[in-house]
């Protein structure tokens, strides 16, 4: 318990809870869009982004890592959208080609870097090492995501459910779709510190996926997802220090366990409830 009075630890807990909430909230949209696969693709894209940014600037700072990750994710994500516009190649196909190519660039560049240890923190997250600057970035990106999605909840839902009806009603469907994509990338980047780019998918899918097994209320996906993300992440940080494993993986493992538990025990849609029926 003396850990709790440690300022580093306090900061880690606060960061985990906030990042968990913002990402959990946004995971509602990921589940609604059924875009878990593209999230996974984009998270892998952040690796080469960070690696190339380090190569270009010669140093690893939170800012160039952030910028590199953002840039790479935007290039690959928007590139896949642009390619699929031609209606010849599906967006999923275009994304798979582009992200594996980008990831390969990252893998090729990795041995050239001198800052391996630090880079590992970005790949797998190291929430105990967050500084005030990192925390600030996470808070800012989280706030942008939360505020813009809450303000635009209705047009976003209309867009996701019936894009053509939404468009007819005057919803700027294309803007909303690009906005969601931009926010997705922001969310991914904000979770870098907590779980790293490889595991960030977990935070951005698992919370709302868990909620979707428990309820049919659309709004619950967001708020419930945020709650599960926040509590799960904070709890995982506490547990990880007592068990002695890294906090990043602990967060994603715990969220995975919650998901499986919901799958098994959900009173409405759980496997066991189905048996009883």
């Amino acid at each position: 318990m003396e850990l709790l009075s440690n300022p580093f630890y306090q900061r880690a807990l606060a960061a985990a809870a906030f990042i968990g909430f913002a990402n959990g909230f946004f995971s509602g949209f990921v589940v609604l869009r059924r875009s878990a696969l593209s999230v996974s693709a984009l998270s892998h894209t952040m690796l080469p982004g960070i690696a190339v940014a380090i190569l270009a600037t010669g140093a690893l700072t939170q800012w160039n890592a952030f910028a590199g990750a953002l840039f790479a994710a935007l290039i690959v994500g928007l590139g896949s959208v642009a390619v699929s516009r031609g209606h010849r190649v599906e967006q999923g196909t275009a994304l798979a080609v582009l992200y594996t190519a980008a990831f390969a660039v990252g893998v090729a560049v990795l041995p050239l870097l001198k800052t391996r240890q630090q880079l590992e923190d970005w790949l797998f997250g190291n929430i105990v090492a967050v500084g005030n600057g990192d925390l600030l970035i996470s808070y800012a990106t989280g706030a942008v995501v939360l505020i813009s999605t809450s303000l635009l909840m209705r047009p976003i839902l209309l867009t996701l459910f019936e894009p053509n009806v939404a468009a007819a009603q005057g919803v700027p469907v294309r803007f909303i779709q690009y906005l969601l994509f931009g926010l997705l990338v922001l969310s991914l980047v904000s979770s870098l510190q907590a779980v790293g780019c490889v595991l960030s998918v977990g935070l951005l899918v698992a919370p709302a996926a868990t909620v979707s097994l428990l309820t049919d209320k659309t709004s619950a996906l967001f708020w419930g997802g945020g709650l599960i993300g926040a509590l799960g992440s904070a709890l995982a940080v506490v547990l990880s220090s007592t068990i002695g494993i890294a906090p990043g993986p602990a967060i994603v493992i715990l969220l995975g366990i919650l998901f499986v538990a919901a799958y098994l025990f959900s009173p409405r849609y759980g496997l066991l409830a189905g048996r009883r029926r």
């Binding site: 589940v31 609604l32 303000l151 635009l152 209705r154 047009p155 839902l157 209309l158 996701l160 459910f161 019936e162 053509n164 009806v165 468009a167 007819a168 009603q169 005057g170 979707s212 049919d216 209320k217 659309t218 996906l221």
Partner: protein
């Protein structure tokens, strides 16, 4: 004309609201999908759109609803030109075009019908809540309002979208193949419902593929095959000669 007699029972309107479509033309990319279609009808009617596959039935519905851009032509409703979209028009998609797995309850779906009134931010007022309750009640969905939309039967799903249209206070209901995939009982229920809705003063326009039931379910019919082959009261328009010309010519040429 005797076939317009039922207009007298439009409960909500003193006079009839007219929908006038004048030479509506739609292209999909460069392909002509709808060629100069015109019709004039009014609330209280049920209008069937019939024609072979690919004749443009769905396109016409979507063009009226504002879901696809029109190349040329005008749509006038109650004396004013509808440029893109009117809140008084509600489009009900074909079953297979709906994302049934979307985590939304029946009530949530019907609440979406209020969005045009509430805008993006205004919270639901008592009047909004009442409109939703009323729509659910009049379509017999109160007991099902917390169900996810996939858990409904085909007929119930159709009614849930109708309830959304009612919550929107739509006057013109545009239904894409509403009877497809319904069992006999659900079909009959939907037929009664469309009858009631039109008697209450709404205009029902629906694409329909079953010629035999058209005269029983609808008052007027528009026969489509990219261009327009006939429009008017069902019994007058759907003659064996026209049916043969529009539907069988295709088979003969195969």
């Amino acid at each position: 004309m005797s076939d317009h007699q039922h207009h007298d029972c439009c409960a909500h309107h003193e006079h009839h609201h007219e929908l006038v479509i004048d030479s509506l033309t739609v292209h999909y990319r460069r392909v002509l999908a709808l060629d100069r279609v015109s019709l004039a009808t009014s609330c209280g009617n049920r209008v069937a759109l019939v024609g072979p596959n690919g004749a443009g039935k769905s396109t016409l519905l979507k063009a009226i609803a504002g879901l696809v851009p029109r190349t040329s032509g005008t749509i006038r409703w109650r004396g004013t030109t509808v440029r893109k979209w009117s809140r008084e028009f509600a489009y009900l998609p074909q079953r297979e075009e709906v994302d049934w797995a979307f985590p939304i309850t029946v009530r949530g779906l019907v609440e979406m019908g209020r969005y045009p009134q509430t805008g993006w931010w205004r919270t639901f007022s008592a009047a909004d809540v009442q409109a939703v309750d009323l729509a659910l009640e009049s379509l017999g969905l109160l007991d099902l309002q917390q169900r996810q939309i996939r858990e409904l039967s085909g007929g119930q799903q159709q009614r849930a979208f109708l309830a959304r249209a009612l919550a929107q206070e739509a006057h013109v209901l545009l239904l894409d193949e509403p009877f497809t995939g319904l069992d006999r009982q659900a079909s009959r229920m939907l037929a009664d419902l469309l009858g009631t809705l039109s008697h209450e003063g709404r205009l029902v326009i629906a694409s329909h593929h079953d010629l035999d039931s058209t005269s029983r379910l609808f008052d007027e019919v528009l026969v489509l095959k990219t261009g327009q082959r006939g429009f008017g009261p069902v019994d007058e328009v759907l003659t064996p000669a026209l049916i043969h010309e529009v539907f069988d010519a295709e088979k003969a040429s195969l």
